[in-house]
């Protein structure tokens, strides 16, 4: 009895893995045919890395008394920008798939559409990992950023940053009634998050209240946590708590309001 039950569970697990593998294969092909996430999530940070790398070479020395050079400051910013770009591309596919009835069609099969979303998120994590590697390797090897990654806090900061920002993207997926609304909302959100992450001006350069706003904003807190961890320092506890708080809040809202149809 026990043996046959665990056998049945084994068959179920096997099928479940085969279903996810089939979804991953199809989603990977589709994401190569519609390379939006790949373009803005990986290519954009890579291009920006080159831009800020050259700025750093032409303007050596530390920025606003921070003890860090331009490339040092932009390594974490560019990683977070990659996460933002990938998260913002989520509504493009998922909202469309919902609007055209594809998720509903999937839900009439033995596979819940949540598995399609899972496959999509797994591929996005791969893209984020590729972007991280490009930025760290490019930043140190090509542009000489003296990084010394502290693995435990780096992993924690990156995990929280990705979870937080992907959850924000999923909120857009959850609440946007259609593709047009999703595009509009995510466009505005994209630029707000880019600004707060320090793309145009770093928090250390602005000082005052705006600096605090950036530090405790969703993307700014992520940048700050990553910044400390890539220089082998412990991120400030308020920064980690802020990041964790946003993550929990955004994930809760996204799950609470998510719709498959």
């Amino acid at each position: 009895m026990m043996a046959s039950m665990s056998g049945a569970r084994g068959v179920h697990r096997h099928r479940s893995r085969a279903q996810l593998a089939a979804l991953l294969k199809v989603e990977a092909k589709l994401s190569l045919r519609e390379p939006y996430a790949l373009g803005v999530g990986v290519a954009l940070p890579a291009v920006l890395l080159v831009v800020f790398g050259f700025i750093s070479k032409n303007v050596p020395g530390n920025v606003a008394g921070s003890g860090l050079t331009v490339i040092d400051l932009y390594v974490p910013t560019l990683m977070v920008i990659s996460f933002i770009a990938i998260a913002i591309s989520l509504p493009r596919t998922i909202v469309r798939d919902r609007e055209i009835g594809w998720l509903r069609r999937i839900s009439t099969t033995p596979v819940h559409p949540a598995r399609l979303l899972a496959a999509e998120l797994i591929l996005d994590l791969v893209l984020a990992a590729v972007a991280i590697v490009i930025i760290i390797v490019g930043g140190t090897v090509i542009f000489g950023a003296p990084l010394s990654v502290g693995i435990p806090f780096f992993v924690l900061s990156i995990a929280l940053a990705i979870a937080e920002i992907f959850s924000l993207g999923l909120i857009v997926v959850a609440v946007a009634p259609n593709q047009t609304a999703a595009t509009t909302v995510s466009g505005v959100l994209f630029f707000a998050l880019l600004f707060l992450s320090g793309l145009w001006v770093q928090p250390v350069q602005v000082g005052g209240a705006l600096r605090e706003v950036m530090w405790y904003s969703p993307s700014g807190a992520a940048v700050r946590a990553v910044l400390y961890s890539v220089f082998h320092a412990t991120p400030p506890v308020p920064t980690l708590l802020t990041l964790a708080g946003y993550t929990v809040l955004f994930a809760f809202i996204a799950v609470r309001y998510f719709r498959w149809e």
């Binding site: 199809v26 069609r105 009439t108």
Partner: protein, 336 residues
Amino acid sequence: MHLPSDNAAFPGVRRAVDDGPNSRDGEPAVTITNLVKRYGSFTAVNDVSLAVQEGEIFGIIGPNGAGKTTTVECISGLRVPDSGSISVYGLSPQRDRDKIKEFVGVQLQESALPPRLKVGEALELFAAFYPNPLDPHEVLESLGMKHIERLAFKNLSGGQKQRLSIALALVGNPRIAILDELTTGLDPEARRDTWALIERMRERGVTVILVTHFMDEAETLCDRIALINHGRIRALDTPEAIAAAAGGNRLRFIPSAPVGDETLYAIDGVQAVERKGRYVTVIGTGDLAASLIHALAAAGVEVSELEARRGSLDDAFIRLTRDTASETSEPEEVQT
């Protein structure tokens, strides 16, 4: 990808029934009892009961907004009924939805695929979802879709999209296929081709539930039909029986002397009278010819050039759906 193809001989061979729920002789595939579904204050389905027998093509027909789609969406578990019960081989679409989804194939009205997904990829994906699927290549072959295997969804014609939709509903090797407004928007040739595919599903022993508002489609394909209007079943029988019972008979004749409308309407079963030149046509139900000749003979009028024509399903449809639109009282049910 390797897929079990031991029972994949499609078409022509009856589907192997060694998997899925057990079927007992005579037990219906689907039983709906007193189904009610409301959207806010609008009652979409109002006390519908019906049984679909294993292996038949069961049509659900009715005008737009009659509650056809809602009814089949309750069967597939996409919607939760407000009251009443549904049994699919003894399973509940709500409680046992995961089990039912393994052997019920669904084709949804207005459901598209990601624009860049290719036909072959979609079929392989769906095959991977099911425990005992057909071989996607054989399905493509048998539906005459081999040449569009590498086409992306956005480049398909309307007929090709419908064909893909049927293929996706079939590739999981279902026991029951629910097809909703399958041929809407297709040209006549594509419709005929689609009908042939549905016929072949029946040959394989798949039970088909077909939602349509085309009478010719229902007449050609369906073994039995439920005609639904305003959420209620107005007729439930074979297309021929419904046409005979509700489509009425038309009798055209030339009376030997003028007869007034009141005389004709007084005849048992007469519902309408039309006149054209010397010809008089009465439309009605029952044994019309005998009553007519008898009544007119009593009035001293002889009947010549009598011509009878049976009502079609179309006539029945129009009569049954017009009745409920114009009458406020409880509509009559057609008993056959």
